[in-house]
Symmetry: C2
Subunit: 352 residues, 2 copies
């Protein structure tokens, strides 16, 4: 019997409602493969911040290091400024553990009402590969002449060759492994003078090493338009921290609901634990109502198992999702159903 | 008889095909109001760059200053890096003439096939107000350790209180003038540490002066998702240079085609000429085929006349557009028709 050790941070809002369903589904799928889990729960959240002035203890990162992976619900809640809650927990984990790949599948499933006209299940099936530790998400910069009419805020983005090349390599390799072998890169080189032309240059250079891959370069503005107008065009889409973030909310929205979308924060070298979470946030507006959709968390759990070397568990979970999605009675309100979070979770377990 | 003096920069690619149709439509609508135009054509473009090494002459901005307005087609073409073509023409004009408002209407018209399911004409009708001269579009920054493994690119964004407050004021005033009185602001304060929380703070402060206006603050990622999932929710959406750019391509894409969308680069104080252009670019892939849609340019012309104090001409043009859009035979391929650029232009003139 093998055991995997998972650190669980349910976090805030609906994070605490969807994580238990993720665990239930993983347990059920694990049993079939004689896999055991050791779950260790960390109550780090905005509540913790209110009590202690910190999102996580000073040695928080140290505590996480020994785990095989981290399973996260959602972080952030009204009352704690976003840039505090995120820079105190989620972003430091991504950085300290060099989770430089953020991988987000976008897929149109049978049964999920699609906001785009005339799209069939299967039409939309691509990955967003997002750079996850540098770029526009940066605390470098500051304010000058504060409190006066002349206030100026400077905000820096940082792009390194190291950081750019490794995410591009991951994206090219992923494209290489897929049937279409098609990579689209998102920049804004006509407006953003230094960083974006640099990214384009690194793409062009790396493309030479992958002659089989068809490479498109898009400006982010028209790329978002194309997600709506021709989502079937895309296969692997790579972008900076900010652009990848935007595209990986927009993509899932085009397939019906961001509530089922997972997000894998991967350290491909496995030097450190990777982290798996749903794309959705803590959703204060529906927190406490037990109507949150647990599928993003369950799919994130599936990606976690894939990363840890258990592709059968990944597939079991995905198959269960596919079956359950076809049955409207099991779905939560965001997908046109009336089931509670727990009922949808139970339907998945039953299917497994 | 009054005369307005317009500087015309047709630019590159389909810019040179759509501008003549815009002029024809404006002439036709002007005749009805006994208005004359004096058109002065400037052949500034990527072709000029190839010949002279410059997108426009050194005294280009000086030459434009005396005009009532600037009517622009599109700038940029393969062979000239985007950041050169744009920073050599479009962006300097926006900046030198303090066109700090970029105003872009998003409207679903009868007759235009909508990529979103179940939307009716009238359901989508909002404005994107984009900050147009500072923010993320910045040439500040540079590269360190160039040519080595350790290359680092730093890219700065600059947000001033002056620049932030004046665009917010414009957006709040616009919201105030509309029925819904609803303003949505786009930021990314959980990831971008300095500039975005600053923008949020200025919004919160200004909101106190407009108690009648309902104000939402969105992160850009979920906001793009909401454009697809609930476009009818929006009334006035305000964002930084980059976020406004993204939203004003995505918005029109959600209403069927960015080819009909106009972009007004406005200096509200009228100290300098304002500039009017279609949202679409030079579209090298369809250039020379006479299939480009001229409606974005015609609508931009209408906004120009509104700005110059001729609302009747604006309305005449918009009414003509509405009628022509209902007749599939007059439409270009991007809207499901077979008409050429000139045929669609002629249909507008006839309607006027
Ligand atoms: C061409 C480019 C610099 C420009 C911009 O992003 O401002 C265009 O996309 C626009 O939206 O007007
Ligand atoms: C919470 C926020 C900082 C985060 C991000 O933008 O990275 C989230 O939107 C995500 O996409 O994981």
């Amino acid at each position: 019997m093998q055991t995997v050790k998972i650190a669980v941070i349910a976090g805030d809002g609906i994070g605490t409602e969807v994580i238990p369903e993720g665990i239930r589904a993983l347990e059920a799928a694990g049993r079939q493969c004689h896999l055991e889990y050791e779950w260790t729960h960390f109550d780090w959240s905005c509540e913790t911040y209110h009590k202690t002035g910190r999102m996580m203890p000073e040695d928080g990162l140290e505590q996480l290091k020994a785990f095989d992976a981290i399973y996260l619900g959602a972080v952030g809640f009204p009352g704690v400024p976003d840039h505090i809650s995120l820079w105190g927990l989620l972003l430091p984990i991504r950085r300290a553990f060099d989770q430089y790949v953020n991988l987000r599948p976008v897929r149109l499933f049978d049964g999920v009402p699609c906001p785009l006209a005339n799209k069939q299940p299967g039409d939309i099936d691509f990955y967003v590969v997002r750079e996850n530790v540098e770029g526009e998400y940066s605390a470098m910069g500051g304010i000058q002449y504060e409190g006066t009419e002349r206030e100026i805020v400077s905000q820096q983005s940082i792009f390194t060759r190291h950081g750019t090349d490794r995410i591009l390599k991951y994206a090219f390799e992923l494209a290489q492994s897929r049937e279409k072998k098609h990579l689209s890169s998102a920049t804004k080189s006509n407006g953003i003078y230094h960083s974006m032309p640099y990214w384009d240059k690194r793409v062009a250079l790396m493309a030479q090493q992958y002659p089989e891959i068809k490479v498109d370069q898009y400006h982010i503005d028209i790329l978002t338009a194309n997600f709506v107008q021709m989502p079937e065009h895309f296969d692997v889409v790579v972008g900076s921290n900010l652009f990848g973030d935007i595209l990986s909310d927009l993509g899932p929205a085009c397939t019906g609901t961001i509530a089922i979308a997972p997000s894998a924060n991967i350290n491909p070298e496995k030097t450190f634990p990777s982290m798996f979470e749903p794309v959705h946030g803590s959703a204060p507006d529906i927190a406490g109502k037990n109507i949150a959709n647990p599928l993003g968390t369950i799919w994130a759990g599936a990606m976690m198992m894939q990363h840890l070397g258990y592709p059968e568990i990944h597939d079991t979970l995905l198959n269960a999702m596919e079956s359950v999605l076809r049955n409207k009675n099991s779905l939560t309100h965001d997908m046109g159903g009336t089931a509670s979070t727990q009922e949808l979770g139970a339907a998945i377990v039953e299917q497994i």
